[in-house]
Amino acid sequence: MKKQKLVVVGNGMAGIRCVEELMKLAPDLYDITVFGAEPYPNYNRILLSPVLAGEMTIQDIILNPLDWYRDNGIKLYMGKRVDIIDRARRRVIASDGTEAEYDRLLLATGSTPFIPPIPGKELPGVISYRDIRDTDEMIATAKSHTHAVVIGGGLLGLEAANGLRQRGMDVTVVHLMPWLMERQLDKTAADLLKSSLEARGLKFLLEKQTEAFIRGESGRVAALRFKDGLEISADLVVVAAGIRPDTALAESAKLYCNRGIVVNDTMQTYDPRVYAVGECVAHRGIAYGLVAPLFEQAKVCANHLANFGIARYQGSVTSTKLKVTGIDLFSAGNFMGGEGTDEIVLHDPSGGVYKKLVLKNDTLVGAVLYGDTADGAWYFQMVKDAQNIHEIRDHLMFGQNSSVGDVGHAGNLSAATMPDSAEVCGCNGVCKGDIVKAIKTHGLFALDDVRKHTKASSSCGSCTGLVEQILASTVGGAYTPAQSKDKAVCGCTEHSHGVVRAAIRDRHLITIPAVMQALDWKTPSGCASCRPALNYYLISSWPGEAKDDPQSRFINERAHANIQKDGTYSVVPRMWGGLTTPAELRSIADVAEKYQVPTLKMTGGARVDLLGIKKEDLPKVWADLGAAGLVSGHAYGKSIRTVKTCVGAEHCRFGTQRSLSMGVKLERMLFGMWSPHKVKLAVSGCPRNCAEAGIKDVGVIGVDSGYELYVAGNGGIKTEVAEFLCKVKSDEEVMEYSGAFLQLYREEGYYLERTCHYVARVGLDRVKAAMVDDALRRKELYERLLFSLQDYEDPWTQAVQQPTLRREYEVIQIKEVAA
């Protein structure tokens, strides 16, 4: 099939990001031609400020070197401004006469600096701050001149002022409004900012309106006069008074514009063949000047250019971070508050810290942070997700890590204070400097990309918050927060876990191919992320109907043992409630000797781990263990693991309840239960809690009058203390309530979501309403759990008995012919 022609006007961050997204989806659909007015390949405009400040070079901020265009077969015209769009003949014409025909056209013309109509604005030395040329001129002027004036105390103006000061100029910032960055900061934060910038030698003139730029003897600007008559010297004037969408080309082609090229939710203009993204666009009346929204637009637009037709752009909540080294400042959403909102404020003027959170009806709608922005990403996520914060309201101000438990990065909570040599990701040994380098070298903006390139936070994920902070402080406003809510399952689909679960349930889908077909999977057979998730959703939604697909399980669940670093496996037989017998122990000892098991270890779940067993020996080991009655402990599964117990009233002088038998009953009930993630229980016979039930998915604590039930605890990556669910009287009730809670989690949890994350997502109140308050629903949940667990057979016994299953473990011997 002949390729279609795509022409992109605008070689900046939005246009090229859209091309990159398109290449991911449909690399062969188009012949692509790109026109760029500037004589450079796509660079990171956000990082012009560090270049100006002398912290980076132009070479550092190139995002797509010329090789990239060549390798992807993209024709690039640099330094060619497109003047005409001939929509009738579907071609564009550049000022030098270069023409290109299109089937589809993408406009990404960006914005132009707004220069107020002040007399003298055309004088040499009066410039705007937009591109590499402006930056070069500022750097050159700083070498030969002294006095600089920056008009505009917004984000860009302050970054320019800081850079010029770093270059040794005497800099005054002139601002029309009563405080700096009034579109991002409230007055308190702005005053703190002003003080710290003054301490660096910047001067400020607020509420001043410029009347004229005055020409000097040399012909270039020499001074500036205000409406009140004051005059100040100025060898260089940088006007940073805002930007305007560059719609000149679109308007000349009679495309409908209204403070930007007007597009719909698919980024299409009024001409269906013409799309537009970036700062030139007006979407639902808003033109965005920050990078994160542009990337969201680019992604949606690419989806439609690739003819997928399923993405919609619905506007963005934006956040701001000032890229002035040493100043930590963050704002997002509605930070000014107003009617119907509450404010939580923490203000320590001497410590240089100010935090304001704006809440409306138990959701966070905006935040300003000054001096300590460590939790900026966390707050921003909540603003974006409109998450209900009712349950964390009392400690919201103290940040994500105010509670105990995050491990793996030496207790560091703030990336800003970490040296480059500090280890951020303790799993993969990645230091802060490695991450910063990767972000700069590869032009990364999103957490997922940082993970792919550095592996930081890609294993246990406990350092995710830190990596996000490093990303945000390195790329500033271009930081693209990971989508936490409604996040796509994986790269194979646009759909979230919630949507996929609902479709499987509501449309009665019972096979993986059926799900992939019904939901338009982008890959023919999925990937290692989505297949296990789908397999779990199917077998948990349709027990008895959907057939388990071993090939869609991770190796541990397929081999019923845990793979180790050297390719051997570990075997953990079940010990119900942590109880064992001499015969079982003897059998384990015999197996260990017979198969020369190198390591025997007690697990945290109170049973014995036989480590270092060859895969081909597994069925033989299981046969021997099975003869003594030992079955799989599922130490390898997203499934029931253990029920830990204390000795309880059976033996202990303090015991109030028979925790051993309670634990055994629970573990027998749950045998064979697959779940979104692993599940651990504990039963303690009294509140001394020797079984550590406070950090389990379900924790049962015996008291004289019955049992207290706790849920959603976690002893792993981040210690989470279990929350009190309810109190019950009998063993039967413990079974019913625990079972109902776990079934609710099994039905509603997303794959790889532990109970603590599930409960944090839906709220404990909702869980209680579903299975504590509603007795009928509780009984139904409990019955569904028991139904799906009936007839479960020990997988080890099956593998021993069935030759077809045993094949998985056998090594093929071949007859090699002597050469």
């Binding site: 991770f554 793979i563 093929i812 012919v817």
Partner: protein
């Protein structure tokens, strides 16, 4: 020139699965894709030596079970941004039988 060596019947490898062959050149993972194409790779991930035969097969890619590296079945090359290569072996399917050629 080395000869084609008989491995097993195609049916003895699960679709989207693999089997391990012991050979004088070390362990070789023989993969069968969903479309019944067969491939052979040295059973050792270039990253940290993980047994690729134990990985999940999607399309023409296997994901190493240890740290999730993805390798192309055709040539053993790691999928970017990871860099590395597992040695590949010629494997063919003939009338329901899988054959392997050692290098």
């Amino acid at each position: 020139m080395s000869e084609w060596i008989k491995v097993c019947a195609l049916d003895e490898i699960a679709p989207q699965g693999s089997r391990v062959v012991e050979s004088s050149q070390g362990r070789i993972a023989i993969f069968r894709t969903a479309e019944d194409k067969v491939f052979g790779l040295h059973d050792k991930c270039p990253h940290k030596g993980g047994p690729l035969s134990q990985g999940m097969v999607n399309g023409d890619i296997v994901t190493c079970p240890l740290h999730g590296w993805k390798l192309g079945l055709k040539d053993g090359e790691a999928v970017a941004p990871d860099k590395g290569c597992a040695k590949s072996f010629a494997v063919k399917l003939d009338a329901g039988t899988v054959w392997l050629k050692l290098n």
